[in-house]
């Protein structure tokens, strides 16, 4: 079986020692010694506080860290060998670490965690980013409880985040996921989420692991899988969204992980999404998305410049992806002066993304190149979003996002036309 081959004998032995467990918290790491200690200690505190009676385990899937990461994770174990009375723990808590093969890849890490969850027959499994320094013990409860006792299969987080944080999420991933699959999952690609044992087994059994999406963007594939598999979704408010390090600031990588996986998922799920016309809300536990407004200096000019040079330089590439009217419109707005006249509107942006999705489906050029070609255009859209919401309140920002979502849902029919038609 495929999922067994990814676990080393040593790790399997650790799993045997853990035995059956009720809840599992997975931490995918790669050289996270700076923050992982605090995170696992908080996870432990959360497990002790909110799940004192449950058989719990922390599983660290490591991409071959050269630092102290694995030891820091193991240090969160509670057993009778390293005794500390002040913990007040009923049970042994195993905090185990496994180095998976093939170098750091979030997909492989997730797969290791999923395989552990399946082998340990856990009821609920949460994944927490080792960089989430804003984590509190209550996050563990908020992630695990809806699955463990609330009969949900997949819980995505809601965060308190700055209105300009997560622009890709607000301007592309969330609206498009919602338009495609009809579920309003605010954070389809999150650093924290949780799922049930049955979803873990379902997802593991899918044949995504041989594809690129099995290595990067697996998290969003899991979200898609939960939606398309008819699993029960919920959203849980956690707290302040942790600010991740510079690695995730690489736009192209981020787009590969999200948009790439999203476009990829359209292929096998055509019969499902093609019949969905509108969207349904997802039950929310413990509050809604919150928006913070503290001032932020953003280099908008750079975004705009990169958009403009992208449209100009990539013309031959865009020609093969976009329809002539859309490209012409893009080229027109690229000539406008920034700030005042420039506007990459909802409708044009939605159409752009749909045409990219269709071209991705038809593979008019290398699919990875299609995703890369979208990046400069997204920059233009992000620029417009920043300008439009410069003075906006939290509610207004949310309303604007909602409006864009509705536009996407409205224009979805155009994608269906493009999907089967000749270019």
């Amino acid at each position: 079986m495929a999922e067994e081959s990814i676990l080393t004998d040593e790790f399997l032995r650790q799993l045997i020692d853990v035995g059956e467990a009720d809840v599992l918290v997975g931490v995918p790491t790669y050289n996270n010694a700076a923050t992982v200690g605090h995170v696992v200690q908080t996870i432990r505190a959360g497990l002790l506080k909110y799940f004192p009676r449950e058989r719990a385990v922390i599983v660290n899937a490591d991409g071959g860290s050269r630092d102290e990461t694995a030891n820091l994770v193991r240090g969160a174990s509670i057993n009778d060998l390293q005794h500390s009375t002040d913990l007040n723990a009923l049970r042994t808590l195993h905090s185990i670490s496994a180095e998976y093969a093939g170098g750091p890849a979030t997909g492989t890490a997730l797969r290791t965690i999923l395989a552990s969850a399946e082998l340990l027959r856990v009821s609920a499994c949460a994944v927490v980013s080792p960089e989430s320094t804003t984590i509190g013990p209550e996050w563990i409860e908020r992630l695990l409880r809806p699955v463990y006792q609330g009969n949900f299969d997949f819980v995505t987080p809601l965060y308190r985040r700055h209105k300009f944080d997560g622009l890709l999420m607000r301007n592309l991933v969330y609206p498009m996921t919602r338009a495609f699959y009809g579920r309003r999952v605010r954070e389809p690609y999150a650093s924290e989420f949780s799922f049930s044992g049955s979803l873990a087994s379902h997802f593991l059994a899918q044949d995504i692991w041989v594809h690129e999406v099995g290595h990067t963007g697996t998290e969003i594939a899991l979200t898609m899988s939960a939606i398309t598999g008819g699993f029960r979704l919920a959203q849980s408010f956690l707290g302040v969204k942790p600010h991740l390090d510079a690695r995730s600031a690489d736009l192209v990588a981020a787009m590969r992980q999200t948009v790439g996986a999203l476009f990829w998922s359209l292929e096998p799920n055509f019969s499902l999404w093609s019949s969905i016309r509108d969207s349904q809300p997802v039950p929310t536990v413990g509050g809604e998305q919150e928006v913070t407004l503290e001032p932020l200096r953003v280099n908008r000019k750079r975004l705009f410049d990169m958009f403009r040079s992208g449209v100009a330089e990539l013309e031959p590439v865009l020609k093969s992806i976009l329809s002539p009217p859309t490209l012409a419109e893009l080229q027109r707005i690229a000539t406008l002066a920034e700030e005042d006249d420039f506007c990459y509107g909802d409708e044009l942006w939605a159409r752009t993304v749909y045409e990219f999705a269709a071209s991705y489906h038809k593979a008019v050029i290398s699919r990875d190149h299609i995703i890369q070609a979208l990046a400069p255009l997204y920059r233009g859209r992000a620029f417009t979003f920043l300008v439009e919401n410069r003075e906006a309140s939290g509610e207004q920002v949310e309303q604007n996002v909602e409006n864009f979502c509705l536009t996407c849902e409205r224009l979805k029919a155009s994608l269906l036309e493009l999907w089967n038609g000749k270019k």
Binding site: G166, L167, M169, L314, V317, S366, H369, Q372, A373, A375
Partner: protein
């Protein structure tokens, strides 16, 4: 005299007729060979085409960006192309076999040469195909990379990549075909030199900004850091 002439004529005519009689079956054989060859080649083409369709060869080449290349070159789909190539190669082979059946002196040698040359031609064509594919793919990859990393002159970079790979391909193809080894080497060196010079000039002119930024980064790092921080918006 007349007899002689008549005799000679008769003999010549007879000879001609005899020659013709001797040649006619060969011609017929040739025609039959060509005809049968056409049929076999057609069969090969049909089988190959359905086989390629079965393994979704078009999709494969699409993924590699080959289809785009082909459509750019106004060529038919890659399946069609490959099966047509197989057809013509096979038929041409049969025609040559047929021609050699005519027993024309010297022809034999050319036919043999042709058959010796055929695999090399095939390999050269594959080289060419892959090379052009690679040139297209990498030039686009360079273009996208340059645009997304805010490099100056992405088109130039892209073209440079394309030219480089094309030149490499061409040299490999000529090498394979065994045509004018040393000439090609010189030609390659000249083209290479020209490209490099071009690049140097291009970078010199177009890379002012880059050089400036590089130097700024080098000697005024604080200023740059401030700029970077401004930009630090997490996309996710």
């Amino acid at each position: 005299m007349r007899e002689i002439i008549v005799h000679e004529l008769t003999q010549a005519t007879q000879e001609l007729v005899r020659e013709f009689a001797r040649f006619l079956p060969r011609l017929m054989v040739m025609l039959i060979v060509v005809l049968v060859g056409w049929m076999i080649a057609f069969l090969v083409k049909a089988i190959l085409r359905s086989f390629l369709r079965l393994i979704k060869f078009d999709k494969l080449s699409e993924g590699a960006g080959a289809s785009q290349l082909l459509s750019k070159a106004a060529l038919p789909s890659s399946t069609e192309l490959v099966s047509r190539f197989a057809f013509w190669t096979a038929w041409l082979g049969f025609i040559l076999v047929g021609v050699s059946a005519l027993g024309i002196l010297g022809m034999q040698e050319y036919v043999t040469r042709f058959f010796v040359f055929l695999p090399r031609l095939l390999v050269a064509l594959i080289f060419l195909f892959i090379g052009l594919l690679a040139a297209s793919f990498f030039s686009r990859a360079a273009l996208l990379w340059a645009v997304n990393t805010d490099m100056p002159s992405p088109r130039l970079l892209s073209s440079a990549a394309r030219v480089l790979i094309t030149v490499f391909t061409a040299s490999a193809v000529f090498e394979e075909l065994g045509l004018a080894d040393s000439t090609m080497l010189f030609a390659f060196a000249i083209v290479m030199g020209a490209v490099m010079l071009g690049l140097a000039i291009a970078f010199g002119l177009g890379g002012q900004d880059l050089a400036k930024r590089f130097l700024e980064a080098r000697f005024a790092p604080e200023k740059k850091e401030g700029k970077e921080r401004e930009d630090e918006l997490s996309p996710l």
